[in-house]
């Protein structure tokens, strides 16, 4: 069923134009900036001018000469110079970028699979008959919507090494570079495992009971049931969750910002965090745009890999 009245454009176009104006245009502008070296500096000039009184007349010294004062002029000068692919070349040899890529890659490759696996295990558990199941399920939903920045600061107090609630473990959660990255991963796992759990549970509960019974009658073990029946049937759901988690994990910014400030040193400085610092703290705008574009292209490649699946889902 599809109508083709012209009114369809009236419905659709405002949203399309909005996205073009506020997403596609900035992205184009960002690409343009990536080819420039942009420097902002404040130029200071001093000038001696006579002091004026309220009537605008120069104030005279006892010697009869006008009294003079120094006036400082500050002007922000932004210069931009076309540098071609220089910003992209800089990326390749920049040790900060290499570290940020390593941090982000470890984070994504550990956190996302753990969240999916743990989420699946919890979903299988909660698909059983349990005491107070609806209430427990509700509790599990809470972390998903907690403000990520607040979560970062909150875990800062939980990981407090002298006297925090986990202090008895004696683990240097935030002061040791490797543990700090582990802590960032742990926070993400706390926040996003519930998301995977919830989606998988919904999908499991949508499966007909007869299916499980039939498999049982055929003598399937629990493991068989999981690997031959449940996982294949859940495959579309798993792929969507994987895509959403991958895309989201690559954006990592709020939690390290609050929890570790990217440290110790640069041990938890994620790629987005570095691009933010370079562009909006050091105002090396061209270079930061080039960095951001590399991330954008990475995400685009991932989405493209999932494109056929998406077309089936939204067909």
């Amino acid at each position: 069923m599809s109508w083709t009245s012209r009114i369809r454009f009236v419905f659709l176009l405002p949203a399309v134009i909005w996205v073009l104006a506020f997403t596609v245009f900035p992205l184009g502008y960002s690409l343009y900036l990536a080819f420039f070296k942009i420097e902002s500096r404040v130029e200071v000039t001093r000038e001696r001018v006579p002091v004026l009184d309220e009537q605008g007349e120069p104030v005279l010294l006892s010697s009869g000469k006008p009294r003079m004062q120094n006036v400082v002029h500050k002007t922000q000068v932004t210069t931009s110079e076309f540098v071609g692919l220089f910003n992209f070349e800089r990326l390749v040899g920049d040790p900060q970028v290499a570290t940020a890529i390593r941090v982000t890659a470890i984070f994504v490759l550990v956190a996302v699979p753990v969240e999916l696996a743990l989420g699946m295990l919890l979903a299988l558990l909660f698909n059983q008959k349990l005491l107070a199941r609806p209430m427990l399920r509700t509790v599990m939903i809470l972390p998903i919507f907690a403000t990520p920045l607040a979560v970062g600061y909150l875990f800062f107090t939980i990981f407090y090494e002298e006297g925090g609630p986990l202090g008895f473990l004696g683990i240097p959660f935030l002061s040791n570079p490797d543990w700090a990255l582990f802590s960032v991963i742990l926070v993400d796992v706390w926040q996003w495992t519930p998301f995977c759990f919830l989606v998988f549970l919904a999908a499991l509960q949508g499966m007909p009971d007869e299916l499980f019974e039939a498999a049982r009658i055929d003598g399937a073990s629990n493991i068989d049931l999981l690997t031959r029946v449940i996982l294949p049937l859940l495959q579309p759901t798993i792929l969507i969750v994987l895509l959403l988690r991958l895309a989201e994990a690559l954006k990592l910014f709020d939690v390290p910002f609050a929890l570790t400030g990217g440290g110790p040193g640069v041990a938890t400085q994620s790629y987005s965090f570095l691009a933010f610092r370079v562009g909006l703290r050091y105002f090396d705008v061209g270079y930061a745009s080039a960095m951001a574009y590399v991330l954008l292209i990475t995400v685009m490649i991932i989405v493209t890999l999932f494109f056929r699946r998406l077309r089936e889902t939204y067909g």
Binding site: T4, L12, P26, A146, A150, G163, P165, V199, F276
Partner: protein, 275 residues
């Protein structure tokens, strides 16, 4: 037996996931000095005498009140704006056929906006807002948050319209109603519960946004997360106030999660999985 063991495991796991919230509440009720000295689980009345002093002094500051007012204004305006723009587009993609580009590809185009790394748009957006003189304004943050949640609205609400029976609209159409009337009078009221739930989830997303807020807002337009980050910068880590601010930040979106519970799975998977 199996039931008891599994239930126990599930309860322990739920407790672990609940613990950080409990810890925030417990810390927020302690005297500053006790935030460092109370060991173990910090149970109120057992390990320390709870007090609301931190809450009272935190809520009394003009900065906190401004941050709360700003977060509320920005999140509501952005969600409403996104619903106004997104709902008709969702209807168009659910009911009409677009020939040049298939509907599903337009839908995926909207969806793909959602997975874009925001750090790629934050720099140009900052420069544009600086040029327009809109730095540190509500308007800039409303525009950007509406942009962020718009793809969600389009994709989720489209699914809602697809799930509605088309016959009602066709019947209205036969009776001489135009497309706009059948959208406004029939489809929209039927989809309203789902649209309202979508709006709630969008509010939570906008409320939680931080990267653009810290970039655009410096004083007048600060949101709660920006205020949290600023307080740590200027006054160091004060666990007792941090816990209060974390609670203030987290409670509204978490309550929304409870309210829109039935709708969350669909909302978070952009309609791909029905909860």
């Amino acid at each position: 037996m199996r039931y008891a063991v599994l239930s126990l495991i599930a309860i322990v796991i739920a407790m672990i996931f609940l613990f950080p919230f409990y810890w925030a509440l417990s810390t927020s009720l302690r005297n500053p000095i006790e935030t460092f000295t109370v060991a173990g689980l910090g149970i109120p009345w057992v390990d320390f005498q709870p007090t609301f002093d931190n809450w009272i002094s935190q809520l009394a500051t003009a900065e906190s009140r401004r941050a709360m007012a700003n977060s509320t204004t920005i999140a509501i305006s952005a969600s409403v704006l996104a619903l106004i723009l997104g709902t008709p587009a969702a209807y168009a993609l659910a009911r009409f056929g677009f020939r040049r580009i298939p509907n599903r590809d337009i839908t995926i185009w909207f969806l793909s906006q959602r997975v874009l790394p925001p750090v790629a748009t934050v720099i140009p957006f900052y420069l544009v807002m600086r040029t327009l003189g809109l730095l540190d304004t509500h308007l800039a943050l409303i525009l950007i948050n509406a942009t962020f949640v718009l793809p969600f609205v389009v994709v989720i609400v489209r699914q809602t319209f697809l799930d509605l029976p088309v016959e009602l609209e066709e019947a209205a159409f036969v009776d001489g109603a135009g497309h706009f009337t059948s959208f406004w009078r029939i489809a929209l009221p039927l989809a309203m519960p789902a649209i309202a739930a979508t709006g709630l989830i969008m509010f939570a997303f906008a409320w939680n946004e931080f990267l653009f807020a810290i970039t655009i807002a410096s004083q007048e337009a600060i949101t709660i997360p920006v205020q949290m980050a600023g307080a740590v910068d200027t006054r160091g880590v004060q666990f007792w106030f941090m816990a209060v601010r974390a609670m203030i930040a987290m409670v509204p979106p978490v309550l929304i999660a409870l309210l829109a519970q039935r709708f969350i799975v669909r909302g978070l998977t952009l309609g791909a999985v029905k909860g």
